[in-house]
C-alpha cells in the first residue's frame, strides 16, 4: 500500500519537463530544498493589514541548471489562494495580472520584487506580523521546484 503514492509521484515527475538532475522519484513536499532546481534567496513578505487577508511574497530565484524552469503556480500554507502575479504599468496606470508561466532561464535568475512579479497571497488563514515566516512552494506543473521560506517584515 505504501508503494502507491511513491509510484504516483514518480510517474508525475517523469512526465514533467524539468532538468534531468532534478528528477528525483520522491514525494514533492518531502524533497529537501537543496535538491530543488531553483535556489531562493532574500525571501520576504509584507505584514498583513488588520482586516485585509492578503499580502505578497518576494524573493530572488536562481536557476543554476542548464534547462529553463517554467513556474506555473505557487502554494502557500498560510493562504487559501496563491498565485504568481505581475504588477505592470500601462498608460500611466499600475495594473496586475496573473502569470500562468514564468520562465527562470537556464543559468539565469528572476526577481520577485515590489511593483513586478510577486507571489500574491489571498484569503490568509491568519494575520502576518513582522517576525513571522511564510512558506510557499513554487510549482512547475505538479512538481515543486522551489521552497520559499519568507521572513515577514515591513520593507
Amino acid at each position: 500500500m505504501r508503494l502507491a503514492p511513491l509510484a504516483s509521484a514518480a510517474l508525475i515527475c517523469a512526465t514533467l519537463s524539468v532538468p534531468a538532475a532534478a528528477q528525483q522519484p520522491q514525494a514533492p513536499a518531502a524533497a529537501p530544498a537543496a535538491a530543488m532546481p531553483l535556489r531562493v534567496s532574500g525571501a520576504w513578505a509584507r505584514p498583513s493589514v488588520p482586516g485585509r487577508p492578503m499580502t505578497a511574497v518576494y524573493a530572488v530565484l536562481e536557476n543554476p541548471g542548464g534547462s529553463p524552469v517554467v513556474l506555473t503556480g505557487a502554494t502557500c500554507e498560510v493562504a487559501g489562494m496563491s498565485h504568481i502575479h505581475e504588477s505592470f504599468e500601462e498608460q500611466g496606470m499600475m495594473r496586475m495580472r496573473p502569470v500562468d508561466s514564468l520562465v527562470v532561464p537556464a543559468h539565469g535568475r528572476v526577481e520577485l520584487a515590489p511593483g513586478g512579479y510577486h507571489i500574491m497571497l489571498m484569503m490568509l488563514r491568519r494575520s502576518l506580523a513582522a517576525g513571522d515566516r511564510v512558506r510557499c512552494e513554487l510549482m512547475a506543473g505538479q512538481r515543486v521546484v522551489a521552497v520559499v521560506d519568507a521572513e515577514v517584515r515591513a520593507q
Binding site: 485585509r52 499580502t55 504599468e89 500611466g92 499600475m94 511593483g115 515591513a154 520593507q155
Partner: protein, 190 residues
C-alpha cells in the same frame, strides 16, 4: 450587485480621463492643487484648504491591494521616519479608488496600519470622481476575481501639494521611489 455597478460607474466616468502628470500652468508656474473635503471615519472631515502650511502627500489606491499600495505606504512610513522633526509639517494621505469595498473606516484603518499619523479616506463614487479627475487619476476594476478578490488598476503616482496649496511634480512608481519622495517632500517644505 449594486456595489459592483457603482464601481463600474466610476470606471466609466473615468474612462475619458487619461492620467496626467501635468502640473504646470501655461505660464510655467506650479498650478493650484485641486481642493476637496472628505468626511473622516469617526467624525470631522479632511479639508485640503485647511492643510495650508503643511505639505500634503497623496496616494490613490485600495485596501485589498497586495503589492503597489502597501509598497507605497511602506515607503511613506520610511520617508516619514527620515524626515525627523519636519514630519510634523507633512500630512500623508491615502484615498481609496474602490469605494464599493472600502468604507471610510477601512481606509483609515488601512492607512494607520502603516503609521498612526497617516490619514485614510474613502467617499462615495460621485464625490470621488471629480477629485480623481482633478489630480488626473484613473482607476478601473480588472477583469477576473470575485467580489472579494478583484483587483483594481489605478494611477500609482504620488501627488505632492506644497504649503501654499500648489501641486508639485508627481512622483511616479518605481524602485527608487522612497528616495525620490523624500527629496520631493523636502523640496516642497523649503
Amino acid at each position: 450587485m449594486q456595489r459592483g455597478l457603482i464601481l463600474g460607474g466610476v470606471a466609466l466616468a473615468l474612462a475619458a480621463c487619461a492620467p496626467s502628470d501635468r502640473v504646470r500652468t501655461a505660464e510655467g508656474g506650479a498650478r493650484p492643487a485641486p481642493t476637496f473635503r472628505i468626511a473622516l471615519a469617526g467624525g470631522g472631515s479632511f479639508d485640503m484648504v485647511q492643510q495650508r502650511g503643511r505639505v500634503v502627500v497623496l496616494f490613490f489606491g485600495y485596501t485589498h491591494c497586495p503589492d503597489v499600495c502597501p509598497t507605497t505606504l511602506s515607503d511613506f512610513a520610511g520617508v516619514r521616519a527620515r524626515l525627523g522633526k519636519d514630519a510634523e509639517r507633512v500630512r500623508f494621505v491615502f484615498i481609496s479608488v474602490d469605494p464599493a469595498r472600502d468604507t471610510p473606516q477601512d481606509a483609515m484603518r488601512y492607512a494607520r496600519a502603516f503609521d498612526s499619523t497617516f490619514v485614510g479616506l474613502s467617499t462615495d463614487s460621485a464625490s470621488l470622481a471629480p477629485i480623481m479627475r482633478g489630480f488626473g487619476v484613473g482607476a478601473y476594476r480588472e477583469p477576473g476575481g470575485d467580489a472579494r478578490t478583484y483587483t483594481v488598476a489605478h494611477t500609482a503616482s504620488v501627488f505632492i501639494v506644497d504649503p501654499e496649496g500648489r501641486q508639485r511634480e508627481p512622483v511616479r512608481f518605481g524602485p527608487a521611489r522612497a528616495e525620490e519622495l523624500r527629496r520631493a517632500i523636502e523640496g516642497a517644505l523649503e
